[in-house]
Symmetry: C2
Subunit: 386 residues, 2 copies
Amino acid sequence: MRMINVGIIGFGTIGNGVVKVLKSKRSFLKDIVVELIGGVRPAKDIILEALREGKHVVTANKALLSESGYQIFNLANTLGLAVGFEASVGGGIPIIKSLKEGFVANRIDLIYGIINGTSNFILSKMAEEGYGFKEALKTAQAKGYAEKDPSLDIDGIDSRHKLSILALLGFGIPSKAEEIYTEGIRDIEPADIQYAREAGYSIKLLAIAKRAGDSLELRVHPTLIPKAHLLADVNGVYNAIFVKGDLIGENLFFGEGAGASPTSSAVVSDIVTIAKDISRGGRIEKSIAFRKEVKEIKKMDEVRMRFYIRFSAIDKPGVLAKISGILGHHRISIASVSQKESKAGRIVPVVMMTHEAKEHDMVMALKEIDRLSVVKKRTVRIRVEG
Amino acid sequence: MRMINVGIIGFGTIGNGVVKVLKSKRSFLKDIVVELIGGVRPAKDIILEALREGKHVVTANKALLSESGYQIFNLANTLGLAVGFEASVGGGIPIIKSLKEGFVANRIDLIYGIINGTSNFILSKMAEEGYGFKEALKTAQAKGYAEKDPSLDIDGIDSRHKLSILALLGFGIPSKAEEIYTEGIRDIEPADIQYAREAGYSIKLLAIAKRAGDSLELRVHPTLIPKAHLLADVNGVYNAIFVKGDLIGENLFFGEGAGASPTSSAVVSDIVTIAKDISRGGRIEKSIAFRKEVKEIKKMDEVRMRFYIRFSAIDKPGVLAKISGILGHHRISIASVSQKESKAGRIVPVVMMTHEAKEHDMVMALKEIDRLSVVKKRTVRIRVEG
């Protein structure tokens, strides 16, 4: 039996978890660099140097891979070395291996899901307990599910990092941060969760990679999804990812998306895969096979979706006609309207569901509507899928 | 580039599907035997002969693998050949690869789920449309989801085959047909679906492999699961499999469990994996690594579960006391009772939910109860999980 050396860089919760697992499995593995420090620097230099020194790499660093994955994978492929990155998306869920190997025969059409457990925990608390955003965030922080500075999670940045990796793997296209529309959950109000529920929807923070011809929609935003959809029942810190392919139809993966144990499971799975490849002899399996499946990333302005919109308007005759008129002028047609209260002369919430409309048209229409003297607060707009 | 020959035996729907996919992917693959004929004979001889001739094998044959998997995998391991069997369980769902590789660091504690789409379609129709079993079966047959002779699916045999493979993979233990308690869905009545729903449960045909100390529970039967459980929302011909491991917690896989396209996706994934192994040189990855994780399969009589029971008893004073007395005598305690109608002197349904009780105790209690003169029909008993 060959000895394979494993060096582990970064000894936080996950690093400790991995070492514990490797020890408990009485593993014979030594030599492979495991990078678990997070953040782009100095992780990038460490990984590039390790590869140049002929070492295989296992990493859970989604920020780095979303920024420099294309470069790192290309270098590894050129050098005939492996980069394992199962732990970078979905914790212990084997989504990377499934996209790379299990679904190899498929043309992937759509990948979407809940890939940030912190945001999902907060939205679940708001839905279940009627908490406001801040109260739910505090609960998440008290339970250790959210950082003291929670921006990475609640502003959708972590989801964007992971979506970028999934898009590279599923559609063969690298993406820059500014090419992925990213909106977090800070502005979600209990009222919207309530009104969405009355209309038969749950609100979830979704990351979406959707093929549209030879371009790809890439976006992260709060989304209304129908109650009957499996994602609507994914609560707490869990992750859930749908993959739609031409042969498999829709496949769902569900599990714990973070935490020391699930992440360790993924890291060790990568280490074992590479170690087996080494001990079997022969060439190493490529980390990623680049297929140029789509030509470009679609501009968000051009994306078509349905919308939930909530106006805070003065309750007086003619207001609804005025709002509808502006929407119509911008080619947006209304599927349903419901005025939630009635108090003549006072501000009341009016909730609309639209048919499919272009993002750009909606932006322009809302700009115009929010300038009306009868509209007293910024209009809330949440996208709808499913 | 080495040429790898692929021979395909069995040219039904799936065989055609695989050939179509391989052609459309302009695959360079030739030489690997793909067995898609189904049934134990002559498939077993073909596979054993192919291995002895030094050929790798890909098969979707769950009946054969459940009967002779241990022998086939051992022979392949000895000869350094691969047996791909991703398509044998869950269609296009990458459950085999995930158990073998993705979860390699985990001690698996529990695998359970809906692994027969036909039965799930029938139960869904009964729940959604109020159909009786026969009517729902006819609908399934008209849609091509059930065979003319549907026994393999509706009597739980297909689920048993697949469970046997999952148990071999997840717990390292081969099982004989008679060691897996198997009960199908023929006797499920609309009334039970209705009463279960009133109590907050759905009825699904589950296959369950549950570690209990160093023994393993293996069983296939209709099961009440709470409405809030993700499996309760899996309807139609879909499959869904939960895997619980010490590191990953609970992971769910959901997708189309049968049909030409999803099955082809799995077969081609196996072919590509083996072809890559061959073309990289070096030794071949073992089809299965046997770990003796549990010592024995637990006898069904010894398994402890909660139960739903429906009595058809004469509505008169003292009947409930008599029934409760017999249950108590057999160490079965009652969690709730609900008498569904009241018609003095007539037969009425009485539904009970019990606390955890031993299968053997329940069998003995029901024998005694069904002999009572006030009990007019055989008592219905459905197990509860979750």
